[in-house]
């Protein structure tokens, strides 16, 4: 019996699972307020804190870039990693799991669909906050910063897949943990201040999250004078290693925990 190839199913699944997210963004525009205006206000509030302290202009840049990457972190956690928890409740997880596709493709589709909203949010924060408060960036480092950004986002989504496998198995407990860890992760990633401020030990621990090193590297490239946590080249190497490491771990974890979920009846809504 011949079937479509695995790669064909993989790619079609990504497109199909991204589709509802695109459609939702188009048909329900409420996200323009919740996903752009409200986060923008949050970023601006933090900028006012630095302005009140008469901090150098580049500190405002730290906040703006932190706000930009925060959008992607939230997409990874709430629109991708935790999504299996909600999908199970709706009965979607059963249908995803029993289709001849992979959960990785489902997750990538979710990420791709959600990235549209995140990108809009990130660009809005970058442009509006930068123009409003006169934050300037070094143009010479812009292209490299863009490269680091792509690497960081890739590592972030690989981490997201790893977390999604945990949500697949631990479900409500994982959701509660993610909720509880939100503020500590914002803190450890240095969203609103240079990573170096945390010191070697705490900053090093925070570096497990790709955002921490990625954000630090981007700041070093476009905001001259940023206190360096570790040299730029090391940061880039570490992010590349995170891509490989998290991608591998996520695949192992997804396979293992999907099997455990079949053993423990965690893919289905129980009723005998």
């Amino acid at each position: 019996m011949s079937h479509p190839s695995a790669i064909r199913i993989f790619l079609k699944t990504i497109a199909a699972r991204a589709y509802p997210r695109f459609v939702a963004a188009y048909r329900n525009r409420a996200w323009l307020v919740t996903e752009t205006l409200l986060p923008l206000i949050g970023t601006i509030a933090m900028i006012y804190v630095y302005r009140a302290l008469h901090a150098p202009l580049r500190y405002l840049g730290f906040v703006v870039l932190g706000g930009v990457l925060l959008a992607f972190w939230q997409n990874v956690i709430w629109a991708m990693a935790t999504q299996f928890f909600w999908d199970r409740g709706a009965g979607n997880l059963e249908l995803f799991a029993m289709a001849p596709t992979s959960l990785t493709a489902i997750l990538l589709g979710m990420a791709l669909g959600g990235a549209y909203v995140s990108l809009t949010r990130a660009v809005t924060i970058l442009l509006v906050a930068s123009l409003l408060f006169g934050v300037g960036y070094s143009l010479s480092g812009l292209l490299s910063a863009l490269g680091v950004f792509v690497l960081t986002i890739s590592a972030l989504y690989c981490l997201g897949m790893l977390l999604a496998s945990l949500f697949l198995f631990y479900q409500r407990e994982a959701w509660q943990l993610a909720d509880a860890m939100q503020e500590p992760i914002y803190f450890l990633s240095g969203f609103y201040f240079p990573l170096r401020s945390l010191g070697a030990l705490v900053g090093g621990a925070g570096s497990v999250i790709p955002l921490a090193l990625g954000l630090d590297a981007i700041r070093q490239l476009v905001l001259p004078g940023t206190p360096q946590f570790i040299p730029l080249a090391w940061e880039v190497l570490a992010i590349v290693a995170q891509i490989a490491g998290y991608a591998l771990l996520s695949q192992i974890s997804l396979r293992y925990l999907e099997r455990r979920a079949r053993e423990d009846a965690r893919l289905i809504l129980r009723s005998t």
């Binding site: 079609k12 509802p20 979607n92 059963e94 799991a97 029993m98 289709a99 596709t101 893919l267 005998t272």
Partner: protein
């Protein structure tokens, strides 16, 4: 004999910290290719657990299961190309999508090329009378329309074996009939197709299934054609007794000599007792119990045995039996 589904000593235990529930306990099942096979049982009998194992969503605790010749544990990836499942009361998908978009999305998880998928979706929407709803949002569908859409989702990918888990639950008579008609039509298109159906509705199983298995407390208590199962109660006289509501009566009626089985269901405020009498003399004993209960007799009727009567005899209670009656 070409077997579509086979299970051998299939057992499934759900374990939690405080308890252990045996949902399936040594189930042996053979379903022939081309059959419409029904799995009947009361709530908690193990029907859904059986289906979820066969569609690869759940691992058995022990035993073996083969679907289309493939082991559900070891060859589940290949098997997933060949099967589909539709459950009653499904609320799956995404409410903001249009019906045709949602169906397209699910077809893509099987790698179907978009153009043939859209063609097949259009054809099935037409067949189930949903063409006009193709551009309607999923969230705006009635439960009957939604269930027809779910059935189409199961059919788009042309599975060899279709699993239907209570597909007409909570549907009105017309929608349920449409679903059953489509299942028949789909089966008639290709003799190699097989349907495994779980249902609460005896009439549905009687009307739709070539063979049925009755499951109770995780075990198969009987298997055969509806006619064969009905044959088991053929020697009994079946009497329906309609009584006004009142005190518990079922246990007392079951205790009357000559009452082989009894069940009760409530309809429009009237308790309808179905009694299987092994001899006519038992009716006198029944009437004495009814007189003593103070309940009023609203009707008495002798009738031909149904699958429900066979079920009551085998399981010991009716499908929708309310113990308080």
């Amino acid at each position: 004999m070409d077997i579509a589904v086979e299970t051998k000593a299939l057992r499934r235990v759900y374990r939690s910290r405080s308890q252990e529930v045996v949902a399936l306990d040594g189930v042996d099942l053979h379903v022939r290719r081309g059959e419409r096979f029904g799995v009947l049982g009361p709530n908690g009998a193990g029907k859904t657990t059986l289906i979820k194992i066969l569609v690869t969503l759940l691992l058995p605790s022990s035993g073996e299961a083969f679907v289309d010749g493939l082991d559900v544990v070891r060859q589940f990836r290949e098997l997933r190309h060949r099967i589909a499942m539709v459950s009653g009361g499904e609320n799956v998908g995404f409410g903001m999508l249009k019906v045709k978009e949602q169906l397209w999305m699910f077809s893509q998880f099987y790698g179907m090329p978009s153009k043939p998928a859209r063609g097949r979706i259009g054809e099935l929407l037409e067949r189930l009378g949903l063409s006009e709803a193709a551009d309607r949002r999923v969230s705006a569908l009635s439960s009957g329309m939604r269930q027809k859409m779910n059935l189409i989702r199961g059919l788009i990918t042309n599975p060899r074996i279709l699993f239907l888990d209570e597909p007409t639950v909570a549907l009105d008579v017309g929608a349920a009939r449409d679903v059953r008609d489509e299942v028949r039509r789909w089966m008639a298109e290709d003799p190699g197709r097989t349907v495994i159906l779980t249902t609460h509705y005896m009439m549905e199983a009687d009307e739709l299934c070539d063979r049925v298995a009755i499951v109770n407390r995780g075990r198969i208590v009987a298997q055969g054609t509806p006619a064969e199962l009905k044959q088991q109660v053929q020697q009994n006289a079946i009497v329906d007794l309609q009584l006004s509501p009142g005190s518990r009566l079922l246990d007392a009626l079951r205790g009357v000599q000559g009452v082989a089985a009894a069940s009760v269901s409530e309809q429009d405020g009237i308790d309808r007792f179905s009694l299987q009498l092994s001899n006519d003399a038992a009716l006198g004993g029944v009437m004495r119990i009814v007189d003593g209960s103070g309940r009023q007799i609203r009707g008495v009727q002798k009738r031909e045995p149904t699958l429900e009567d066979a079920f009551v005899k085998l399981v010991g209670r009716g499908m929708a039996e309310e113990e308080q009656a």
